[in-house]
Structure formats: C-alpha cells, structure tokens
C-alpha cells in the first residue's frame, strides 16, 4: 500500500509569500493523480514538498502511513522524473539507471535484471551504452522514466515530464505513460499545465490556483460539474463562454438572451435568493452550442468574427449586439463568413450557473 496523505500542507517562503495554502488530500494506492493549474499556482511546489526537495512550512505529509515532513528525499522511497530530464551527462544510459540501485546497494544480478526489465518496457535496449548527449529528446525522456522506475518506488512523481517535447512526441509519450502506469501500478503524482495530459492520464485531477485547491475530482466530473468559475474556464478547450445574467423569477435574463428556467432550477435560485437582483454568470461550453435560426428560442445572436477550421471541428467566434464574445465548437463541415449573422442555440441541460459574487457553481453546492 502506497498512500500519500497531505494534511493541511502549507508552504510559506521567508519573504512571506504563501505558495501553497492548506492543501488537503488523500491519494490512494496505485492512483494516478494530476496536479494541474496555471503557472505559479503551487502545483510544482506541492510536488517538491512530497519529494522532500522543499521544506514543508505547515501540516503533515504521510507516505505509506509514515510522517515524512522531516525525512530526506532518499528516505521517502520515491522517484521523480524532472521537467528537463536531469540525466547525469557523464554516465551512459545504463549507468544513469544503475545509479539509484547502486546507492541502494542491490546485488549486481538484481541491478542488471531491473535495468533489462525497465529497458525492455521503455524500448531502451539498444541505447544502454549511449550517453545522454547522443539521445533525442524523447529518448532522454524515456531514460529519465527508466531511472525512476527501476527503483520500484512507493510513489512516482513527475514534474511536467512532457513539456519539453514537441506535440507529436508528447502525444506518443502520453500513451506510453498511461501504459506504464497500468503495468507498474505505482501511485503516481503528475504535475502539468496541459489539460489534455491531465484529462487523459489522471484517475483524479487536482485543479489549483493561487496556492489553493479549486477542485479534486475525476476528469469527467471536472468537465461536467465544475465547482467554480476558475475550474469551469480552466478545463475545456475552447474555454467555456461566461455571460452575465440575472434571474427575474421565471427566466435567466442576460443582455443578449432570455432562458426560461426549469422548475427545479427555479427552486434552487429562489432558495439562494437570486430573485433580489443578485448577479449570475451563465457558463456555456462551446461544444454545447449549435447553429439555429432566428425563430429558435433562447438563442445567442451575433456576427462572426473568426472561423477556425480544425478539421473535425470548426470554432466560430461571434460578437453579440451588446459586445459579448461567444465561441462555438461546431462540426467540421460548418462554414461561416466573417460578419455573417449567426444564431447559436445552447443545450439547456448543459448550462452551468455561477454566483457572480463567489464564483461558485450554484448547481453543485
């Protein structure tokens, strides 16, 4: 069992800057957890605290039920893959992978067996005698992973391991990592700012902003049921459309639209006192919009600014009469001309409604 428990973890730097504020989480054995968020949100700092590369200012970190706050990295039984690989340049691939095993004083036969196994899994058999400078970016990345997995660590930490690779290689390596996790079954914590990596790899995702956890959930739940405006706009590409609105007792009314509220929604809005002029924010995912006509109800009308043809989809950006910007992800065969008038119809079942003041999703409270 390799559980990681983070209990009220904090990181405050000597200058008073709080990089991580009250981080609470239980990571289950064999789980693949993703820390995602914009630059400076504290995701890497949290990972480094788990690794023992940063001191923990407050709270308790337990790995495998042992408090590890003051343990050296070498005493935590973890392995880490760094963003820029951090391969030892004077050692061959074999020596790089041998290094942690020799320190652990494993017998030679065991070391050889583990290296052969890792090399086989990662397709490094032919590269074992090469030095890092003779490897491509993807190969170096695989060596870095190999060095981490040969140790059979309790917890495998990855700090943006694919961010230095080109888009194609990143896609391939993403699949490799998913396969590797299935095979090794190691508890894995993976930091990224790439939401595609987050959504495709993670069992659960931790969305962070300003050192705080915004939501911990499965990829699907994050997408379908974001807890607040930050998560709603961070997850999903193109970004969710956010429009200001008010509730008049029977419908949600914005500058460019009027959406009749269903009875259960009315009940929630009434209960939370939105009738008294409190502002709402309506979230509509671009993929939940379709092209309609003037006669359709609840439409968002506007003129086309840009149409991006992406092959399988076409992203169309419109500006409404009142100046709101809306983007719709439409099927690839949809064509639109600049300045053409367009009526977009939202799927009312997929609406997200946020309290404008707190940013919280009132349907998920």
């Amino acid at each position: 069992m390799s559980e990681v428990i983070l209990n009220h973890i904090q990181k405050t730097y000597p200058n008073g800057y709080q990089a991580v504020k009250d981080f609470n989480m239980e990571i289950k054995d064999q789980e693949f957890i993703i820390f995602v968020g914009p630059s400076g949100c504290g995701k890497s700092t949290t990972l480094r605290m788990i690794a023992g590369l940063e001191d923990i200012s407050g709270g308790t970190l337990k790995i495998d039920n042992v408090v590890c706050n003051d343990r050296e990295p070498k005493d935590r039984n973890i392995a880490m893959v760094f963003q820029n690989y951090a391969l030892y340049p004077h050692m061959t691939v074999r020596k790089n992978m041998e290094y942690p095993l020799k320190i652990a004083k494993l017998p030679k036969e065991e070391i050889d067996a583990r290296i052969e196994h890792a090399a086989k899994i990662l397709g490094l058999q032919d590269l074992l005698e090469r030095k890092p400078k003779a490897l491509s970016g993807g190969q170096r990345q695989r060596v870095a992973m190999g060095r981490a997995i040969v140790r059979n660590p309790k917890v495998l930490l990855m700090d943006e391991p694919l961010s230095n690779l080109d888009a194609k290689l990143r896609g391939q390596m993403r699949i490799e990592i998913a396969r590797l996790h299935k095979e090794l079954k190691a508890t894995t914590i993976y930091v990224t700012h790439d939401q595609t990596e987050a959504m495709t790899l993670g069992d659960r995702i931790v969305v962070m902003s300003n050192g705080e956890i915004q939501q911990i959930d499965t990829p699907q739940n994050l997408y379908e049921r974001p807890r607040n405006l930050f998560v709603a706009t961070f997850i999903g590409m193109p970004v969710m459309n956010i429009l200001e609105a008010e509730y008049d007792g029977s419908a949600i009314v914005g500058q460019d639209f009027r959406i009749e509220a269903s009875d259960p929604l009315k009940k929630i809005l009434d209960q939370q006192g939105f009738k008294n002029g409190r502002t709402l924010k309506i979230g509509i995912r671009p993929e939940n919009l379709r092209v309609g006509t003037k006669e359709d109800k609840n439409t968002l009308a506007g003129r086309v600014d840009v149409a991006e043809m992406l092959g399988s989809t076409t992203n169309i950006y419109i500006t409404t009469k009142n100046g709101s910007k809306v983007v719709a992800a439409l099927p690839g065969d949809v064509r639109a001309q600049t300045d053409q008038e367009l009526f977009l119809v939202p799927d009312l079942n997929m609406l997200h409604i946020f309290d404008a003041e707190t940013g919280l999703n009132i349907l998920e409270m």
Partner: protein, 283 residues
C-alpha cells in the same frame, strides 16, 4: 543564397594582422630559444646570425650538459612532485569549496562573506607574506616540499575557488535534486555527479595551477633554501653566474622543462573544449 556565403568569406584584414602579430610574438622567442639551445657557445656572435641563425649542426650536447648541471632527474622529480600534488589536492579542495560557495552565496549572507574573504586573498602580494612565511614554515618543520605544496594550495585558492564557484552556475541545481531523490547523500552527490560535471573547470584549474607552480622560483627558493632540495627553475639559476650567463645551456634546459607542460596542456585543453554538461538537461 550565394551572396551571404560570399560575404562570409571576406577576409577581415585587421583581425588577421593582429593574429599574425600575436603569433609572431609567441613564436619568435620560442624560435630563438630553440636555435640557441642547439648552438655551441662559439656560434653566439654579437650579430643577427648569432641570435637568429640556424645552428651549424644539430647536436644534443647542450641538453646533456644542461641535465648534468641542473641534476635534471632529481630536480624534475621535485618539480613533478610539487606540481602534481598541488594540482590533485587543489582540484579536490577548490572544487569542494567552490561547490559549496557557488550554491550558497546567493542564499546566505554568511557564505557570501566567507566567499569574499577567500577571494580577497587575491589582492595580498606574496612579497608581504614572504618573510613571515619563511619563519613560520621553518618553525613548523615545513621548509620542504610539503611546505611548498601547502603554500601553493593557499596561494591559488582565491582565484580557483572563484572559478569553481562561478562554474557552478553552469550546473543546474536539478542535477543535485535528481541525485538526492535517487538516494544519494550530499557527499555522494558531489563526488558522483557534481565533481565529474566540473571536468572542464578541473582542466582549466589544472593548467593554471600547473603553469604557476612549475615555473615558480620564488616560493621554493625562499621556503626550501639551505635544504639542498631544488626544483627545476631553482636549478636553472645555476646558468647565471657573476661572470655571465650560459645561454646555450640555459635555453636547452628551458626547452627541456617546457616539454612536460606542453604535453600536459595538450591533454587538458581537450577537456576544456568538451562541454561535459551536454545532454544533462533540455537545452
């Protein structure tokens, strides 16, 4: 496409002339030393031919005689012992100090002060220290090779620690972090990861220290005087007498003592050229 290529091929005459002058400045004295080393004293006439002309025959008598006068193998042994010991111990000590200071001066005022204290040693002239050092080493029974080695280690510390501390900026901190996560102690990280990655700087420090110690006359002269232990440069003082200097033997001896340094330089300069950090991290 061809135009820029053509432009690139233009000769920069100013630079070329400066380089030619530089080359002449280096090779002219070397040429003079070589031809004089092979000449007999009778060929040393007071004209251009005497200074620059080729020797009448290429014999090694001057070299043999110079080796005899300087007790060559003995003095060479002393010079090698002092130089090699200083280089080996120096690289170990300076790199360790440079590693610590290179990583800590930005984060700690105390280490910054220690760094500045060590560096300030560069500005203390040897002449001021000479007499006290002679007395101290004599009292501590260090008026020998060991005393000279220890003094060299101290004298070359400021410059070399500064070089190593500066070089640490080229080694990403993530290398140490990776090593620590791999289970290594700080010492092991230094020895197995950082020390090998400092190879280009080891070569630089080795060359600079070697040239300084190999050619130095003053320190061994004052510290080991009266002990009968000579290094090559001290032994070469024998060519200067009150009645004149035997240039033929002196230059033959200088050429002989130049050879080990030349070989050493050729070996080390390859290491300087090879950036050892290639491939460590994504560039």
């Amino acid at each position: 496409m061809s135009k820029p290529d053509k432009e690139n091929k233009h000769t920069n005459w100013v630079l070329t002339i400066v380089l030619i002058l530089g080359t002449i400045t280096v090779f002219f004295p070397l040429y003079m030393a070589l031809v004089i080393a092979f000449k007999s004293p009778s060929e040393m006439t007071n004209d251009v031919q005497g200074a620059l002309g080729f020797p009448k025959h290429l014999g090694f008598e001057n070299f043999a005689k110079a080796m005899e006068v300087t007790d060559f193998w003995n003095t060479l042994g002393n010079s090698l012992l002092i130089t090699i010991s200083t280089i080996v111990l120096g690289i170990l000590v300076y790199s360790l100090v440079g590693y610590v200071l290179g990583r800590t001066t930005a984060k700690s005022k105390h280490f910054k002060l220690i760094y500045l204290y060590i560096i300030s040693g560069m500005f203390v002239p040897f002449a001021i220290l000479m007499m006290p050092l002679v007395k101290e080493t004599a009292q501590m029974h260090l008026g020998n090779q060991l005393g000279v080695i220890l003094l060299y280690l101290v004298f070359y510390m400021p410059m070399n620690v500064m070089l190593y501390a500066g070089y640490m900026k080229n080694i990403p901190e993530v290398m140490e972090e990776a090593s620590m996560v791999d289970g290594a102690s700080t010492w092991k990280t230094y020895w197995k990861v950082i020390f090998p990655m400092m190879k280009p700087m080891h070569a630089t420090v080795a060359i600079m220290t070697a040239l300084g110690t190999w050619n130095d006359v003053m320190t061994p002269l004052v510290i080991m005087s009266g002990t009968g232990i000579n290094t090559l440069p001290i032994a070469q003082l024998n060519f200067q007498t009150a009645f004149g200097t035997n240039y033929n033997l002196a230059f033959a001896s200088y050429i002989l003592s130049l050879i080990p340094m030349l070989i050493f330089y050729i070996i080390c300069q390859k290491q300087i050229l090879n950036g050892v950090a290639n491939g460590a991290v994504k560039g």
